[in-house]
């Protein structure tokens, strides 16, 4: 699914963008949690019965207690302890946050997980067990349960009913990778192309950042080299760059152009002349 941004305004008042977790990730986390809790319970009791250390009434007590605990309380406790993540959510790398940008409160965690009983467990157990009532009532109930399960798919921020009550969102854990600064690391040792202001006047931010994408990968095959060469030709034609560019200098040409174009655009931007793309002159 396509990512949907959630703009959060932290108390520092600098808006930051997080990606709303996809329906698949949500479903996966939930399935994993169920698998882990119920599977763990099953294994524990299998071991206990096999080891034969507890008598039946103790076993029954433990069983009733655990069956209760691995439903709503497990989710509340784990999200409290791990800051909005259950084990399943940790594995698929998503997490619960407060939609208002403040910190997640215990109230929100309790509220969103109490609703799990009707939103997840009831429909899941009924639909999976196949114990439908016959007739219109059964059909209506089934339809209704499917609808409840699908609520997160139908709203823009993929909130469950519990999320709406608690005011929470589930987002992807952001991963930060800092790539090297092209303008700093790749200063040319060779020819050194110089561009005139009117040549830098052509492009805008969009083209600059597209060029940045191209420069992130040095060409390795002949085909890629050919593509870089095409880019160079196009740029030369557009900005009316008359000098010849030798084949081995093409990469340096692009790097130099990127650097000077960026400097030019950034300084225009500081003077209040922001150029989003190459149509900045026609004003569309």
């Amino acid at each position: 699914m396509i990512g949907r941004p959630a703009n959060i305004l932290p108390p520092e008042a600098v808006p930051i963008r997080l990606e709303i977790a996809s329906g698949g990730a949500r479903f996966g986390a939930q399935a994993l949690d169920i698998l882990i809790t119920f599977g763990g319970l099953f294994l524990l009791f299998w071991a206990l019965i096999w080891a034969n250390v507890l008598d039946w009434s103790m076993l029954a007590t433990l069983f009733f207690l655990l069956v209760f605990l691995i439903r709503v309380p497990y989710y509340i406790l784990s999200e409290l302890v791990w800051n909005g993540r259950t084990i399943g959510k940790r594995i698929v790398r998503i997490k619960v946050i407060s939609a208002d940008g403040q910190r997640l409160t215990p109230h929100q965690i309790v509220a969103r997980n109490l609703m799990k009983e009707v939103e997840v467990f009831m429909p899941a157990t009924t639909l999976l067990s196949g114990s439908f009532q016959s007739g219109w009532v059964g059909l209506a109930l089934t339809l209704w349960m499917i609808l409840v399960l699908c609520v997160p798919l139908f709203n823009k921020r993929r909130q469950r009913l519990g999320d709406m009550i608690a005011g929470t969102l589930v987002v992807d854990q952001p991963t930060a990778v800092l790539l090297p600064d092209l303008a700093a690391t790749q200063s040319t040792a060779g020819v050194g192309f110089v561009f005139q202001p009117e040549q830098l006047d052509v492009y805008g931010r969009f083209e600059l950042q597209t060029l940045e994408q191209i420069l992130r990968n040095r060409p390795k095959t002949e085909e890629q080299r050919q593509r870089v060469s095409d880019v160079v030709h196009t740029i030369r034609r557009k900005i009316k760059f008359e000098e010849d560019v030798a084949a081995r200098d093409e990469w340096d040409f692009l790097t130099d152009f990127y650097r000077q174009q960026r400097e030019f655009l950034e300084s225009r931007h500081l003077f209040g002349d922001t150029r989003e793309d190459k149509f900045h002159k026609t004003g569309s």
Binding site: I8, P10, E12, V14, I16, R17, S57, M58, A60, T61, F64, L65, V67, F68, L80, W82, N83, G84, Q102, R103, L104, T105, P106, H107, I109, V110, A111, L114, M115, K116, E117, V118, E119, M122, M164, I165, A166, Q173, P174, T175, A176, V177, L178, L179, D181, L182, A183, A184, R205, Q209, E212, Q213, R216, R259, R262, E263, L265, E266, S267, H269
Partner: protein
């Protein structure tokens, strides 16, 4: 600040990055550490550094958005700040603090604020009981309609008075351990029902109301049957000892559901989503209270009901505990400090 010679020939935004990169790397490292093993694992210096580095990174992001066209840098800072934000603004209340506030102020205040919902919750049960009683009076076969056969356990219309009496006054030969199992079962089962009743309330209150009403119907029919056998008073005692707490808890859960339902039906000037969030605060506290009362009720039902065999004592204990709940809910948290969590 004198920019050093190495950075001198860089363009402005690259210089901006070169000057701050070290701090970002350090922040990234601290955030990774905190994400992995929690804030508590950070030392004092690290925790202080995290807070100030976070603010610096936020500042950098804000500046970078206005001066830099380096997409990679913007993406990185955006992700770094988001990650750091999630760590810095993690819930940090201590569990004891939260619980204390909940008990001294949160729950009693929430209950006092939810009059309408409480009326709906209790009305559902009382109406159900009344209707069940009246219908049984008209035609005893209604009993079989209301009461699932698993629940009645031989206690059906026409059963002998002696048998009915024996179900009220015998400990079923259960020893302490078995009683413990029974109590745990009751607690786990009833609490799930309560959460269920609560959560269904979001569908316009109706399902919560119907479920509670149905509980009332069963109760009414049962009472009518024992009443017919001349055991009304004894049944009342048998039910009172735990029922005052347990049935109130079910009604409270229904009231919590009603809070959600009311937010959906009557959102007032707010959007439904806002209304749900607003009312959800009190609703959740009602359910927590219900859960708490169900634990108490399970202990009473599991142990005390079998151990206390006279109706007077049963009445005294049951209604005494009920009065204690009421006193707590009405009197606690009257001062204004500690409003809400």
């Amino acid at each position: 600040m004198q920019p050093d010679a190495k950075n001198d020939d860089l363009i402005r935004s690259a210089r901006f990055r070169a000057e701050r990169e070290e701090g970002w790397r350090r922040l990234e490292q601290l955030v990774a550490q905190a994400e992995k093993s929690g804030m508590a694992a950070l030392g004092y210096d690290d925790a202080v550094a995290l807070a100030s580095l976070y603010r610096q990174a936020m500042n950098s992001l804000s500046v970078a958005r206005s001066i830099s066209m380096d997409k990679a840098l913007l993406d990185y800072l955006e992700a770094l700040c988001a990650r750091a934000y999630l760590v810095v603004y993690a819930p940090q209340e201590s569990v004891t603090g939260v619980l204390q506030r909940l008990f001294t102020h949160g729950i009693p205040q929430a209950v006092r604020r939810s009059t309408t919902a409480l009326i709906i919750g209790f009305l559902a049960m009382v109406l159900g009981g009344f209707v069940g009683f009246m219908l049984y009076q008209q035609d005893t076969s209604w009993f079989f309609t209301f009461v699932p056969s698993g629940l009645s356990d031989g206690r059906v219309p026409g059963a002998s008075e002696a048998y009915l009496r024996s179900t009220l006054f015998e400990d079923g030969g259960r020893d302490g351990e078995r009683l413990g199992t029974f109590a745990t079962f009751l607690f786990s089962h009833n609490t799930r029902i309560a959460i269920f009743i609560f959560a269904l309330g979001i569908f316009a209150t109706l399902p919560s109301f119907v479920l509670t009403f149905y509980n009332g119907l069963i109760l009414g029919a049962f009472y009518a049957m024992f009443h017919e056998a001349g055991l009304g008073y004894e049944l009342f005692g048998w039910l009172s000892i735990h029922g005052v707490t347990e049935l109130s808890a079910i009604c409270l859960a229904a009231a919590g559901g009603a809070q959600l339902g009311l937010a959906v039906i009557l959102p007032g000037n707010m959007t439904r989503r806002e209304a749900l969030r607003e009312r959800g605060r009190d609703a959740v506290k009602l359910v927590i209270l219900a859960g708490l009362m169900l634990i108490a009720a399970a202990i009473i039902e599991g142990f005390l009901r079998q151990l206390v065999q006279t109706t007077q004592m049963r009445l005294l204990i049951g209604w005494g505990i009920g009065a204690a709940w009421l006193a707590w809910l009405l009197l606690a948290g009257r001062d204004t400090v500690g409003q809400d969590t």
